[in-house]
């Protein structure tokens, strides 16, 4: 398993709660970087399905997750039987600017 941070980007595909320009800017910046990342269509759906992939992702060290409120994301993972590690960092695309989000996702440790 790689020891570098794993980035998860949530596209929140079934709702319009994340400003479209933030979502698109973050996805564009991640795509333009040379960084591997996991783009998921909708973390809520994965949680409801108890998608086994959620557990695999939660097991990665140093997770950086671009989604919504950290409290919601923490308990969405938990309800998908995939507890997040203490060092997982959740970045809130509902509130933060695309610039800050990308910086937090891509910054070197």
């Amino acid at each position: 398993m790689s020891e570098s941070p794993t980035i998860i980007y949530c596209h929140c595909a079934y709702a319009r709660v994340i400003p479209a320009e933030v979502k698109n800017d973050v996805l564009d910046t991640l795509s333009e970087s040379n960084q591997a990342f996991e783009a998921v269509s909708d973390l809520c759906e994965m949680s409801a399905r108890k998608d086994p992939r959620l557990k695999e992702l939660a097991a990665h060290p140093q997770l950086r997750i671009a989604a919504c409120y950290p409290r919601a994301v923490k308990w969405l993972f938990a309800s998908g039987d995939a507890d997040l590690a203490e060092d997982a960092k959740v970045i809130n695309m509902r509130e933060d600017s695309a610039e800050n989000i990308c910086q937090a996702l891509l910054e070197a440790e």
Partner: protein
């Protein structure tokens, strides 16, 4: 098959060894995500975890040498599909993906807006109010007697009503517009505000379902005497509007509530389940 149990096709957007960089990867990713697919972007130097390479997986890339179109696992079952997307735009790639998914008899992703309550167990006190309130079997109790969300897809889309009956502001709907129900931090004034909402519903007659029941029953007896259908309709609308505004329940949900007898029966069943769970908790403590 329930949308929550079917297999999902996972996609690797491959730009590693043996492939060319993709020009339009952001547009490709967006198109796939919008259709409900999860995509791992793989770059040179990154390699997907071995445990993650479990089918069914579709690898998309601009390959330098044509790869085999499929590979099989030890049992001979196809678990990885390869498709060359060199020069293709988003729509053509979606067609390719959908064709591969159909051919592999994997269900189409999406089709359900993931709207359901998520419990913040740092706040929940296991009081079972939500269990006794919900008429649609969304909540249940686990083998330790704690509240759980058990039937997410029974929840009524865009209806956040149960979060309003939680005295501890522990129920979130991550796709809700407003905080703290959307997962924003809970402030002391939120707890007070949410408590006020419960008082309002108490004023209406206990809970919204009994309110609905009582108001409609009252209206029925009055109007059966008066035989005034128009006024009955007006009264019902007034009652529903009040509930809609107080608890932010969408009109479609109120309109789709079961008959009054069914509501009564389900409310009693839910209440009994909650009482039983609380008795179990008391026994254990």
């Amino acid at each position: 098959m329930s949308v929550l149990t079917h297999t999902k096709l996972r996609i690797l957007l491959f730009e590693g060894e043996g492939s060319l960089p993709l020009q339009n990867r952001s547009a490709i990713l967006r198109a796939l995500l919008e259709k409900g697919y999860n995509v791992s972007r793989v770059t040179t130097g990154s390699s997907p975890n071995p445990e993650a390479i479990q089918g069914p997986i579709l690898v998309l890339g601009a390959f330098k040498d044509a790869p085999p179109s499929e590979s099989t696992d030890d049992s001979g079952k196809i678990n990885v599909y390869f498709r060359d997307i060199q020069g293709k735009n988003g729509d053509a790639i979606i067609d390719l993906v959908e064709g591969t998914r159909d051919g592999a008899a994997i269900p189409k992703p999406g089709g359900w807006k993931p709207w359901f309550p998520v419990i913040d167990y740092d706040r929940c006190t296991d009081c079972m109010q939500c269990l006794s309130f919900c008429l649609f079997d969304v909540y249940g109790v686990d083998d330790k007697g704690s509240i759980v969300v058990q039937n997410q897809d029974n929840c009524k889309t865009d209806c956040p009503a149960c979060s309003r009956v939680c005295p501890d502001v522990a129920i979130m709907f991550p796709k809700y517009r407003h905080g703290p129900m959307n997962g924003a931090e809970v402030k002391p004034e939120d707890v007070q505000r949410e408590a006020m909402k419960i008082d309002i519903s108490a004023l209406l007659g206990g809970d919204i379902y009994s309110a609905l029941r009582n108001r409609s029953a009252k209206a029925r007896s009055r109007f059966s005497k008066e035989r005034d259908d128009e006024r009955a309709l007006k009264e019902r609308k007034k009652c529903l509007n009040k509930l809609k505004d107080t608890l932010d329940i969408p009109m479609e949900v109120l309109g789709a509530l079961p008959s009054l007898d069914q509501i009564k029966q389900r409310a009693e069943e839910a209440k009994l389940r909650a009482e039983k769970a609380i008795q179990e908790q008391n026994k254990d403590s």
